[in-house]
């Protein structure tokens, strides 16, 4: 099979999610990576270095700069004559584009796969991760999005793929990009961090949230996450949110502080290797998934923990 993988990037560098998608695609067949963007030559060169990539297609056009689905989906659909499957990471960009591609090809997408079980058979989570479905596609072509935390990242070196320029239909004239507000952070990215320190509503307010969690996160070189309750209460921006409707993470260590553990939150973090929970309610559901739990007041326990580490 020949597979086309969507490269997630910001026109300057590749995102890690692409590397997991390449690994998943490699289980199906020969991998070609599509880099669509504006002035994205450096990204295409980086994609060519990824181990296991046979070829890179570069579509450099102002229409593709912000990955608008209306412009990108026809480009991808136009390339699919030569491919058996389109694979995208299950990021907000991938989730935006892939179903549009699938509908143009008249195929059902398989969303957020956890494993490849056969040439057309995959597992995927349903009901907020409370069940795992094994599904087999009967479509002639596959469109798949890949859960990044379920696949190892491909090595960023060792490949020597050629880069080929491709052109697409360009601007569909339906939509335009008006601006972005990017949350600034010099911490590790949430979805690729080895350690995550995450806070919930019990942190009281934004200032307290930062004051309690930041020193611990600094000590552990950790990313900071949050439950939906903490985001809705305005303690932190929404891109901190871990859960069914936020980010899905699977770090080596996840420390849940003042988080009760609603099923929607557990859906986003229960594949973490080790989970530690600090909560004063000993019946909080978070303790049912935590490897180590400490029943204590977080305002005393967290500073003490930070100091002793």
């Amino acid at each position: 099979m020949s597979i086309l993988v969507w490269a997630e990037h910001d026109n300057a560098s590749l995102k890690d999610a692409t590397l997991s998608a390449v690994t998943a695609a490699g289980k199906l067949g020969d991998v070609t990576v599509l880099v669509a963007g504006k002035d994205c030559g450096a990204v295409a060169d980086a994609a060519a270095q990824i181990a296991g990539v046979a070829k890179v297609l570069k579509a450099d056009d102002a229409a593709y700069e912000h990955a608008l689905a209306e412009n990108v989906a026809p480009l991808v659909a136009g390339l699919m004559d030569a491919f058996d499957a389109f694979v995208a990471p299950a990021t907000t960009t991938g989730k935006n584009i892939a179903p549009r591609v699938a509908a143009l090809l008249d195929v059902m997408q398989v969303s957020d796969i956890l494993s490849v079980e056969g040439p057309k058979t995959f597992t995927r989570p349903i009901y907020a991760g409370n069940a795992i479905a094994t599904v087999e596609s009967s479509d002639a072509k596959l469109v798949i999005t890949v859960r990044g935390t379920a696949f190892e990242r491909a090595a960023t070196s060792g490949g020597s793929a050629g880069v080929e320029e491709v052109a697409g239909p360009g601007d569909a004239g339906l939509s335009s990009f008006a601006g972005a507000e990017t949350a600034k952070s010099d911490r590790p990215e949430l979805t690729s961090a080895k350690v995550i320190v995450s806070g919930g509503r019990a942190l009281k307010d934004g200032e307290t949230f930062q004051a309690v969690l930041t020193p611990l996160a600094d000590k552990l070189n950790a990313a900071i996450g949050a439950s939906r309750a903490a985001v809705d209460a305005g303690y932190v921006p929404n891109d901190y949110q871990v859960g069914q409707t936020g980010k899905i993470v699977a770090p080596e260590l996840y420390i849940a502080i003042g988080i009760s553990g609603a099923i929607q939150h557990l859906a986003g973090m229960k594949d973490s290797k080790t989970i530690i929970a600090i909560n004063k309610d000993e019946d909080a559901p978070i303790f049912s998934v935590a490897d180590y739990g400490l029943v204590a007041d977080l305002f005393q326990a967290v500073p003490e923990l930070t100091e002793k580490l």
Binding site: A103, I132, A180, I263, L305, L309
Partner: protein, 248 residues
């Protein structure tokens, strides 16, 4: 402008789903069902657009069993004007749902389709994007802010790194994220009034859509169970455990 709002009847979000012992699916017998939470947000947004004068009529549509009427009545009680039920007892995949919605949209000619970003049962996050593709219309997915002005809609989207804003030509498809709004509760008088609002019933065949599934579910299983953990008695014990992990 007319707004079309697709809504789905799903297992209530507070219920912990149980996988059937024979691995054929999730047990939905005698389980509380509700409107998909993202769809409630979509209904609310449509009502707010109508209240602001940006919309004139709100049509809600659901595809599912006869009981999906209850979901439609809920939307009518919140403030939608009329409802369409496309009745089927089959499980319909997002692609076929999108085709049904396209057929409805061709009849109704809405200026805007507002729908949830994903259903909390199949977690697909596909239908809105597929509908937009089939109709050749722009899409504003994961919306946290929607502003209609003239013949465009400006949509602020929740993306991985923060927020981004796109301008879309109407007609357009918008899918809602959690922070778009807080849905209102239907009052008792409005629930009573909703009973007399029009509800039309159709079938997928009326709309010329084949709902045969493209994906075959071979098995549904429980996720791997985490090994039971321990409760430690002090911060010192926790420090020791973290040090054992080698991350500090």
């Amino acid at each position: 402008m007319k707004i079309l709002v697709p809504v789905k009847r799903v297992i209530d979000y507070n219920v912990k789903p149980r996988v059937k012992a024979d691995g054929t699916g999730v047990d939905l017998a005698n389980v509380k069902m509700s409107m998909n939470p993202f769809d409630e947000i979509a209904v609310e947004e449509a009502i707010r657009l109508k209240e602001k004068g940006a919309a004139t009529e709100i049509v809600v549509v659901s595809i599912g069993p006869a009981k999906a009427q209850e979901t439609l009545r809920t939307a009518l009680a919140m403030g939608a004007d009329r409802a369409i039920l496309v009745q089927t007892d089959d499980e319909v995949e997002p692609l076929a749902i999108a085709k049904i919605l396209k057929a409805i949209a061709e009849e109704e000619q809405p200026g805007l389709v507002v729908m949830g970003k994903q259903a909390i049962d199949d977690d697909s996050n596909q239908t809105g994007q597929m509908l937009a593709a089939l109709m050749g219309r722009p899409q504003g997915t994961f919306a946290s802010k929607v502003e209609v002005s003239g013949d465009t809609v400006s949509v602020t989207r929740e993306v991985d790194g923060g927020l981004e804003t796109v301008n879309l030509k109407l007609p357009a498809i918008v899918t809602t994220d959690l922070r778009l709004n807080e849905p209102r509760y239907a009052s008792l008088p409005n629930i009573m009034k909703a009973k007399s609002k029009p509800l039309a019933t159709k079938s997928p065949a009326d709309l010329g859509v084949d709902t045969a599934p493209r994906l075959k579910t071979l098995k549904v299983s429980e996720p791997p169970v985490r090994k039971a953990g321990i409760k430690v008695g002090s911060v010192d014990e926790l420090v020791a455990k973290i040090k054992e992990l080698g991350v500090a």
